[in-house]
C-alpha cells in the first residue's frame, strides 16, 4: 500500500475484504486454532472450536501443516461449499495465519477456457480413434475383399479346369465313340468275312482295311468239292432230326479243318462243301493245301463214319480237287452277299467229287503233278464228265507222303 493515501488504501482493503470474501484462521505453534474471522461461512467454516487442532476442523489443511515456510501459497482450492479459494499461509509473532481469498470467478473463467480446450482435445482424440478404427475396418475390408478376389480367382480357375476336363472328356468320348463305331464295323466285317474265310484270313482282310479284294476278279485257284455218298437216300429214310444231327457232326468236323488249312469256304450245299485256295489272299502251293485238306477231311469223316455205321447210316464220303482260273467276288445284293467263284474249274471239281467213290479223293492231272512230291496218287484214267467237253486224266490220292 506504499505510496497510496491512507484513505485509498483503507478503501482498497475494505473492497478486497468484501469482494474476495476474506476469511482467516489463526493457529498457534501447536497448530491449534486460536482465532478465526472474516467470511468464514462463505467457505463452510462454521462451528469452529478454538483451542482444538485446526486440521480436524478445517480438513483442507490436512497435510499442509506446518507449512514448509512462510509465506506459503496454495492456489485455487475448491472447498465443500463449492467456493474456490487461494490459501495464503503467513507467520506473525509465532501465530500462523491462514488467509482464504475467494477466486471462484477466476476458477470459473479458467474452467471455461480449460473446458473448451479439453473438449477440443477429446474431440480430436475421439476423431483420431475413430480414424484408427475406420482404417482398421478398411484394412479388414480390404483383406476380406482380397480374400474374396482370391477365392473368386480360384473358383474361376477351378471352373476353367472343369471346363477343360469336360472338353477333354468330350474329345475322349468322341474318340471312344469313333473307336466303338469302327470296332462295330470291324466286327460286322469280321462276322461277314468269317462266313467265307478262315478266321485268320478274315482278320487279315479287316486289319488291312482293304475290302477291294472282295470285288470281282479272276484268279488261278485250287477248288475242293466234297459231299456225302448216299446222303439223299439216307435223308429219305431217316428222321429230319437224325439228318440234321449227322450234318451237324459232319460240318463240325470239317469246318475247323478248312480253317486250319486256311481255305476259303464258298458255301454249304446240303452235304456238299466248296473250298478254294489262293483267294481272296494268295497262298503258296494252293494245290498242296487243297490235297492236304482233302486227306484230313477224309480221315475225319472216316472216324465219323464208324459211328454212323453203328447206327446203320449207309453214308460215304467223296472229294474232288481241281485247279484253274475262275471269276471270284461278292455275289448278291444289299443285305445278302456271298463270296463265290464261277468257272469251269468249279464244275470240274464238282464232277470229280461226284465221280469219287467213298473214301476217294479224285484230282486232275494238274493237281496230281503239283502234289507229286507230297502225296501218293494213283492214276484212275481218262474220264468223261457231264457238262465238260473234254475228258480228263483223273487220279486218286492214296495218302500223303510221310515227311
Amino acid at each position: 500500500m506504499e505510496g497510496l493515501p491512507a484513505t485509498v488504501a483503507e478503501q482498497l482493503q475494505a473492497f478486497t475484504y468484501s469482494e474476495r470474501a476474506v476469511a482467516y484462521l489463526q493457529l498457534d505453534a501447536a497448530l491449534t486454532l486460536v482465532g478465526a474471522g472474516g467470511h468464514l461461512d462463505a467457505y463452510g467454516l462454521t462451528d469452529l472450536r478454538l483451542g482444538e487442532p485446526a486440521a480436524e476442523q478445517a480438513f483442507f489443511l490436512e497435510g499442509l501443516l506446518p507449512p514448509v515456510g512462510t509465506p506459503y501459497f496454495v492456489p485455487s482450492m475448491e472447498l465443500a461449499s463449492g467456493r474456490a479459494a487461494d490459501l495464503h499461509f503467513l507467520l506473525h509473532d509465532d501465530t500462523l495465519w491462514v488467509v482464504l481469498l475467494d477466486v471462484s470467478a477466476e476458477r470459473d473463467a479458467a474452467r471455461r477456457m480449460q473446458q473448451k480446450a479439453y473438449d477440443m482435445t477429446l474431440a480430436q482424440e475421439r476423431e483420431a480413434q475413430l480414424n484408427r478404427q475406420l482404417s482398421a475396418s478398411n484394412a479388414a475390408l480390404l483383406a476380406t475383399q482380397r480374400e474374396l478376389e482370391a477365392s473368386r480367382e480360384a473358383l474361376v480357375r477351378a471352373h476353367d479346369q472343369v471346363q477343360a476336363q469336360a472338353a477333354e472328356l468330350a474329345v475322349w468320348n468322341k474318340t471312344l465313340e469313333e473307336r466303338v463305331a469302327a470296332q462295330l464295323v470291324e466286327i460286322e466285317q469280321m462276322a461277314r468275312l468269317k462266313r467265307f474265310f478262315a478266321p485268320t484270313l478274315a482278320e487279315l482282310i479287316v486289319s488291312s482295311g482293304n475290302e477291294r479284294i472282295l470285288e470281282s476278279h479272276r484268279r488261278d485257284i485250287a477248288v475242293l468239292f466234297c459231299d456225302l455218298r448216299g446222303f439223299t437216300a439216307f435223308a429219305e429214310r431217316a428222321e429230319p432230326e437224325e439228318v440234321m444231327a449227322l450234318l451237324h457232326d459232319y460240318h463240325a468236323a470239317l469246318v475247323p479243318l478248312i480253317q486250319t488249312f486256311e481255305g476259303t469256304l464258298d458255301r454249304f450245299v446240303g452235304d456238299g462243301l466248296i473250298v478254294y485256295f489262293n483267294d481272296p489272299l494268295p497262298c503258296p502251293n494252293p494245290a498242296e493245301r487243297a490235297v492236304s485238306l482233302a486227306v484230313a477231311m477224309r480221315s475225319a469223316v472216316a472216324a465219323l463214319a464208324q459211328t454212323w455205321r453203328r447206327r446203320d447210316y449207309q453214308v460215304g464220303f467223296g472229294i474232288g480237287v481241281a485247279q484253274g482260273f475262275a471269276t471270284l467276288g461278292q455275289i448278291g445284293f444289299e443285305g445278302r452277299f456271298d463270296y463265290s467263284a464261277i468257272g469251269t474249274v468249279i464244275n470240274t471239281a464238282a464232277r470229280l467229287c461226284e465221280a469219287a467213290k467213298d473214301g476217294q479223293i479224285l484230282i486232275t492231272s494238274r493237281i496230281a503233278a503239283a502234289v507229286a512230291e507230297v502225296a501218293d496218287v494213283r492214276e484212275i484214267g481218262q474220264l468223261t464228265f457231264k457238262g465238260l467237253s473234254r475228258s480228263l486224266a483223273v487220279c486218286n490220292v492214296e495218302a500223303l507222303k510221310v515227311a
Partner: protein
C-alpha cells in the same frame, strides 16, 4: 473409544479420466454425465469405518494434466497415498498415469497407491492392452477396474487404500 485418523489422498491422472466422478461416486454415491473440468484442486472428505479405527480420507481431486511438468507438486505435500486414474478407452491416459507415478515417487518416495482403470462400463470401446495391465500386476501394482457410472470397484478400491494408509 475408536481412534480417528485423518489421511490426505490425492487423485492423479490425465484430464477427463473420471477422477472427480469417482470421488463423487464414492463420497455422494451419485454420477453425472456432464463433464466439468477441475481447476486447481477440489477437496472432499469421506469417513471410512475400518472397525478398529475410523479414517477420514481427505480427498484432493487435482486438476487433470496431460502435461506432467505443469502439475503442481505442492498439492501432493503431506499425502498419505494416492489414486492413479486412467481411462480404459484411451490408452494415452495410462501413459500419463505411469509418468505421474514416476514423478511422485521421485519427489515423495514410495507411497501407497492404486491404479484405477476407469470407464469399465464401456468395454466395447476398451483400448488398454490386457497384456500391459498384466505386466503391471506382475510387477506388484494394484490395478482395479472401475466404473464411476455404475460404481463398480469404486468402494472397494478406496476402502482398500484406506486400510493401507491407516496401518
Amino acid at each position: 473409544m475408536t481412534a480417528t485418523l485423518q489421511k490426505k489422498i490425492c487423485m492423479l491422472g490425465g484430464f477427463s479420466v473420471g477422477k472427480t466422478s469417482l470421488v463423487k461416486r464414492y463420497v455422494q454415491s451419485v454420477f453425472s454425465e456432464t463433464y466439468l473440468t477441475t481447476v486447481g484442486v477440489k477437496i472432499d472428505k469421506k469417513t471410512v469405518d475400518l472397525s478398529d479405527r475410523i479414517v477420514n480420507l481427505i480427498l484432493w481431486d487435482l486438476a487433470g494434466e496431460d502435461d506432467i511438468a505443469s502439475l503442481r507438486m505442492s498439492y501432493l505435500r503431506g499425502s498419505a497415498g494416492y489414486v492413479l486414474v486412467a481411462d480404459g478407452t484411451r490408452p494415452s491416459t495410462l501413459e500419463v498415469a505411469l509418468s505421474l507415478r514416476r514423478r511422485v515417487e521421485v519427489d515423495f518416495g514410495p507411497l501407497p497407491f492404486v491404479l484405477l482403470l476407469n470407464k469399465n462400463d464401456l468395454r466395447e470401446q476398451w483400448a488398454v492392452g490386457e497384456e500391459e495391465v498384466e505386466d503391471l500386476r506382475r510387477s506388484g501394482w494394484w490395478v482395479q477396474p472401475t466404473s464411476a457410472r455404475t460404481g463398480e470397484g469404486v468402494e472397494d478400491a478406496f476402502r482398500a487404500l484406506a486400510v493401507r494408509v491407516a496401518h
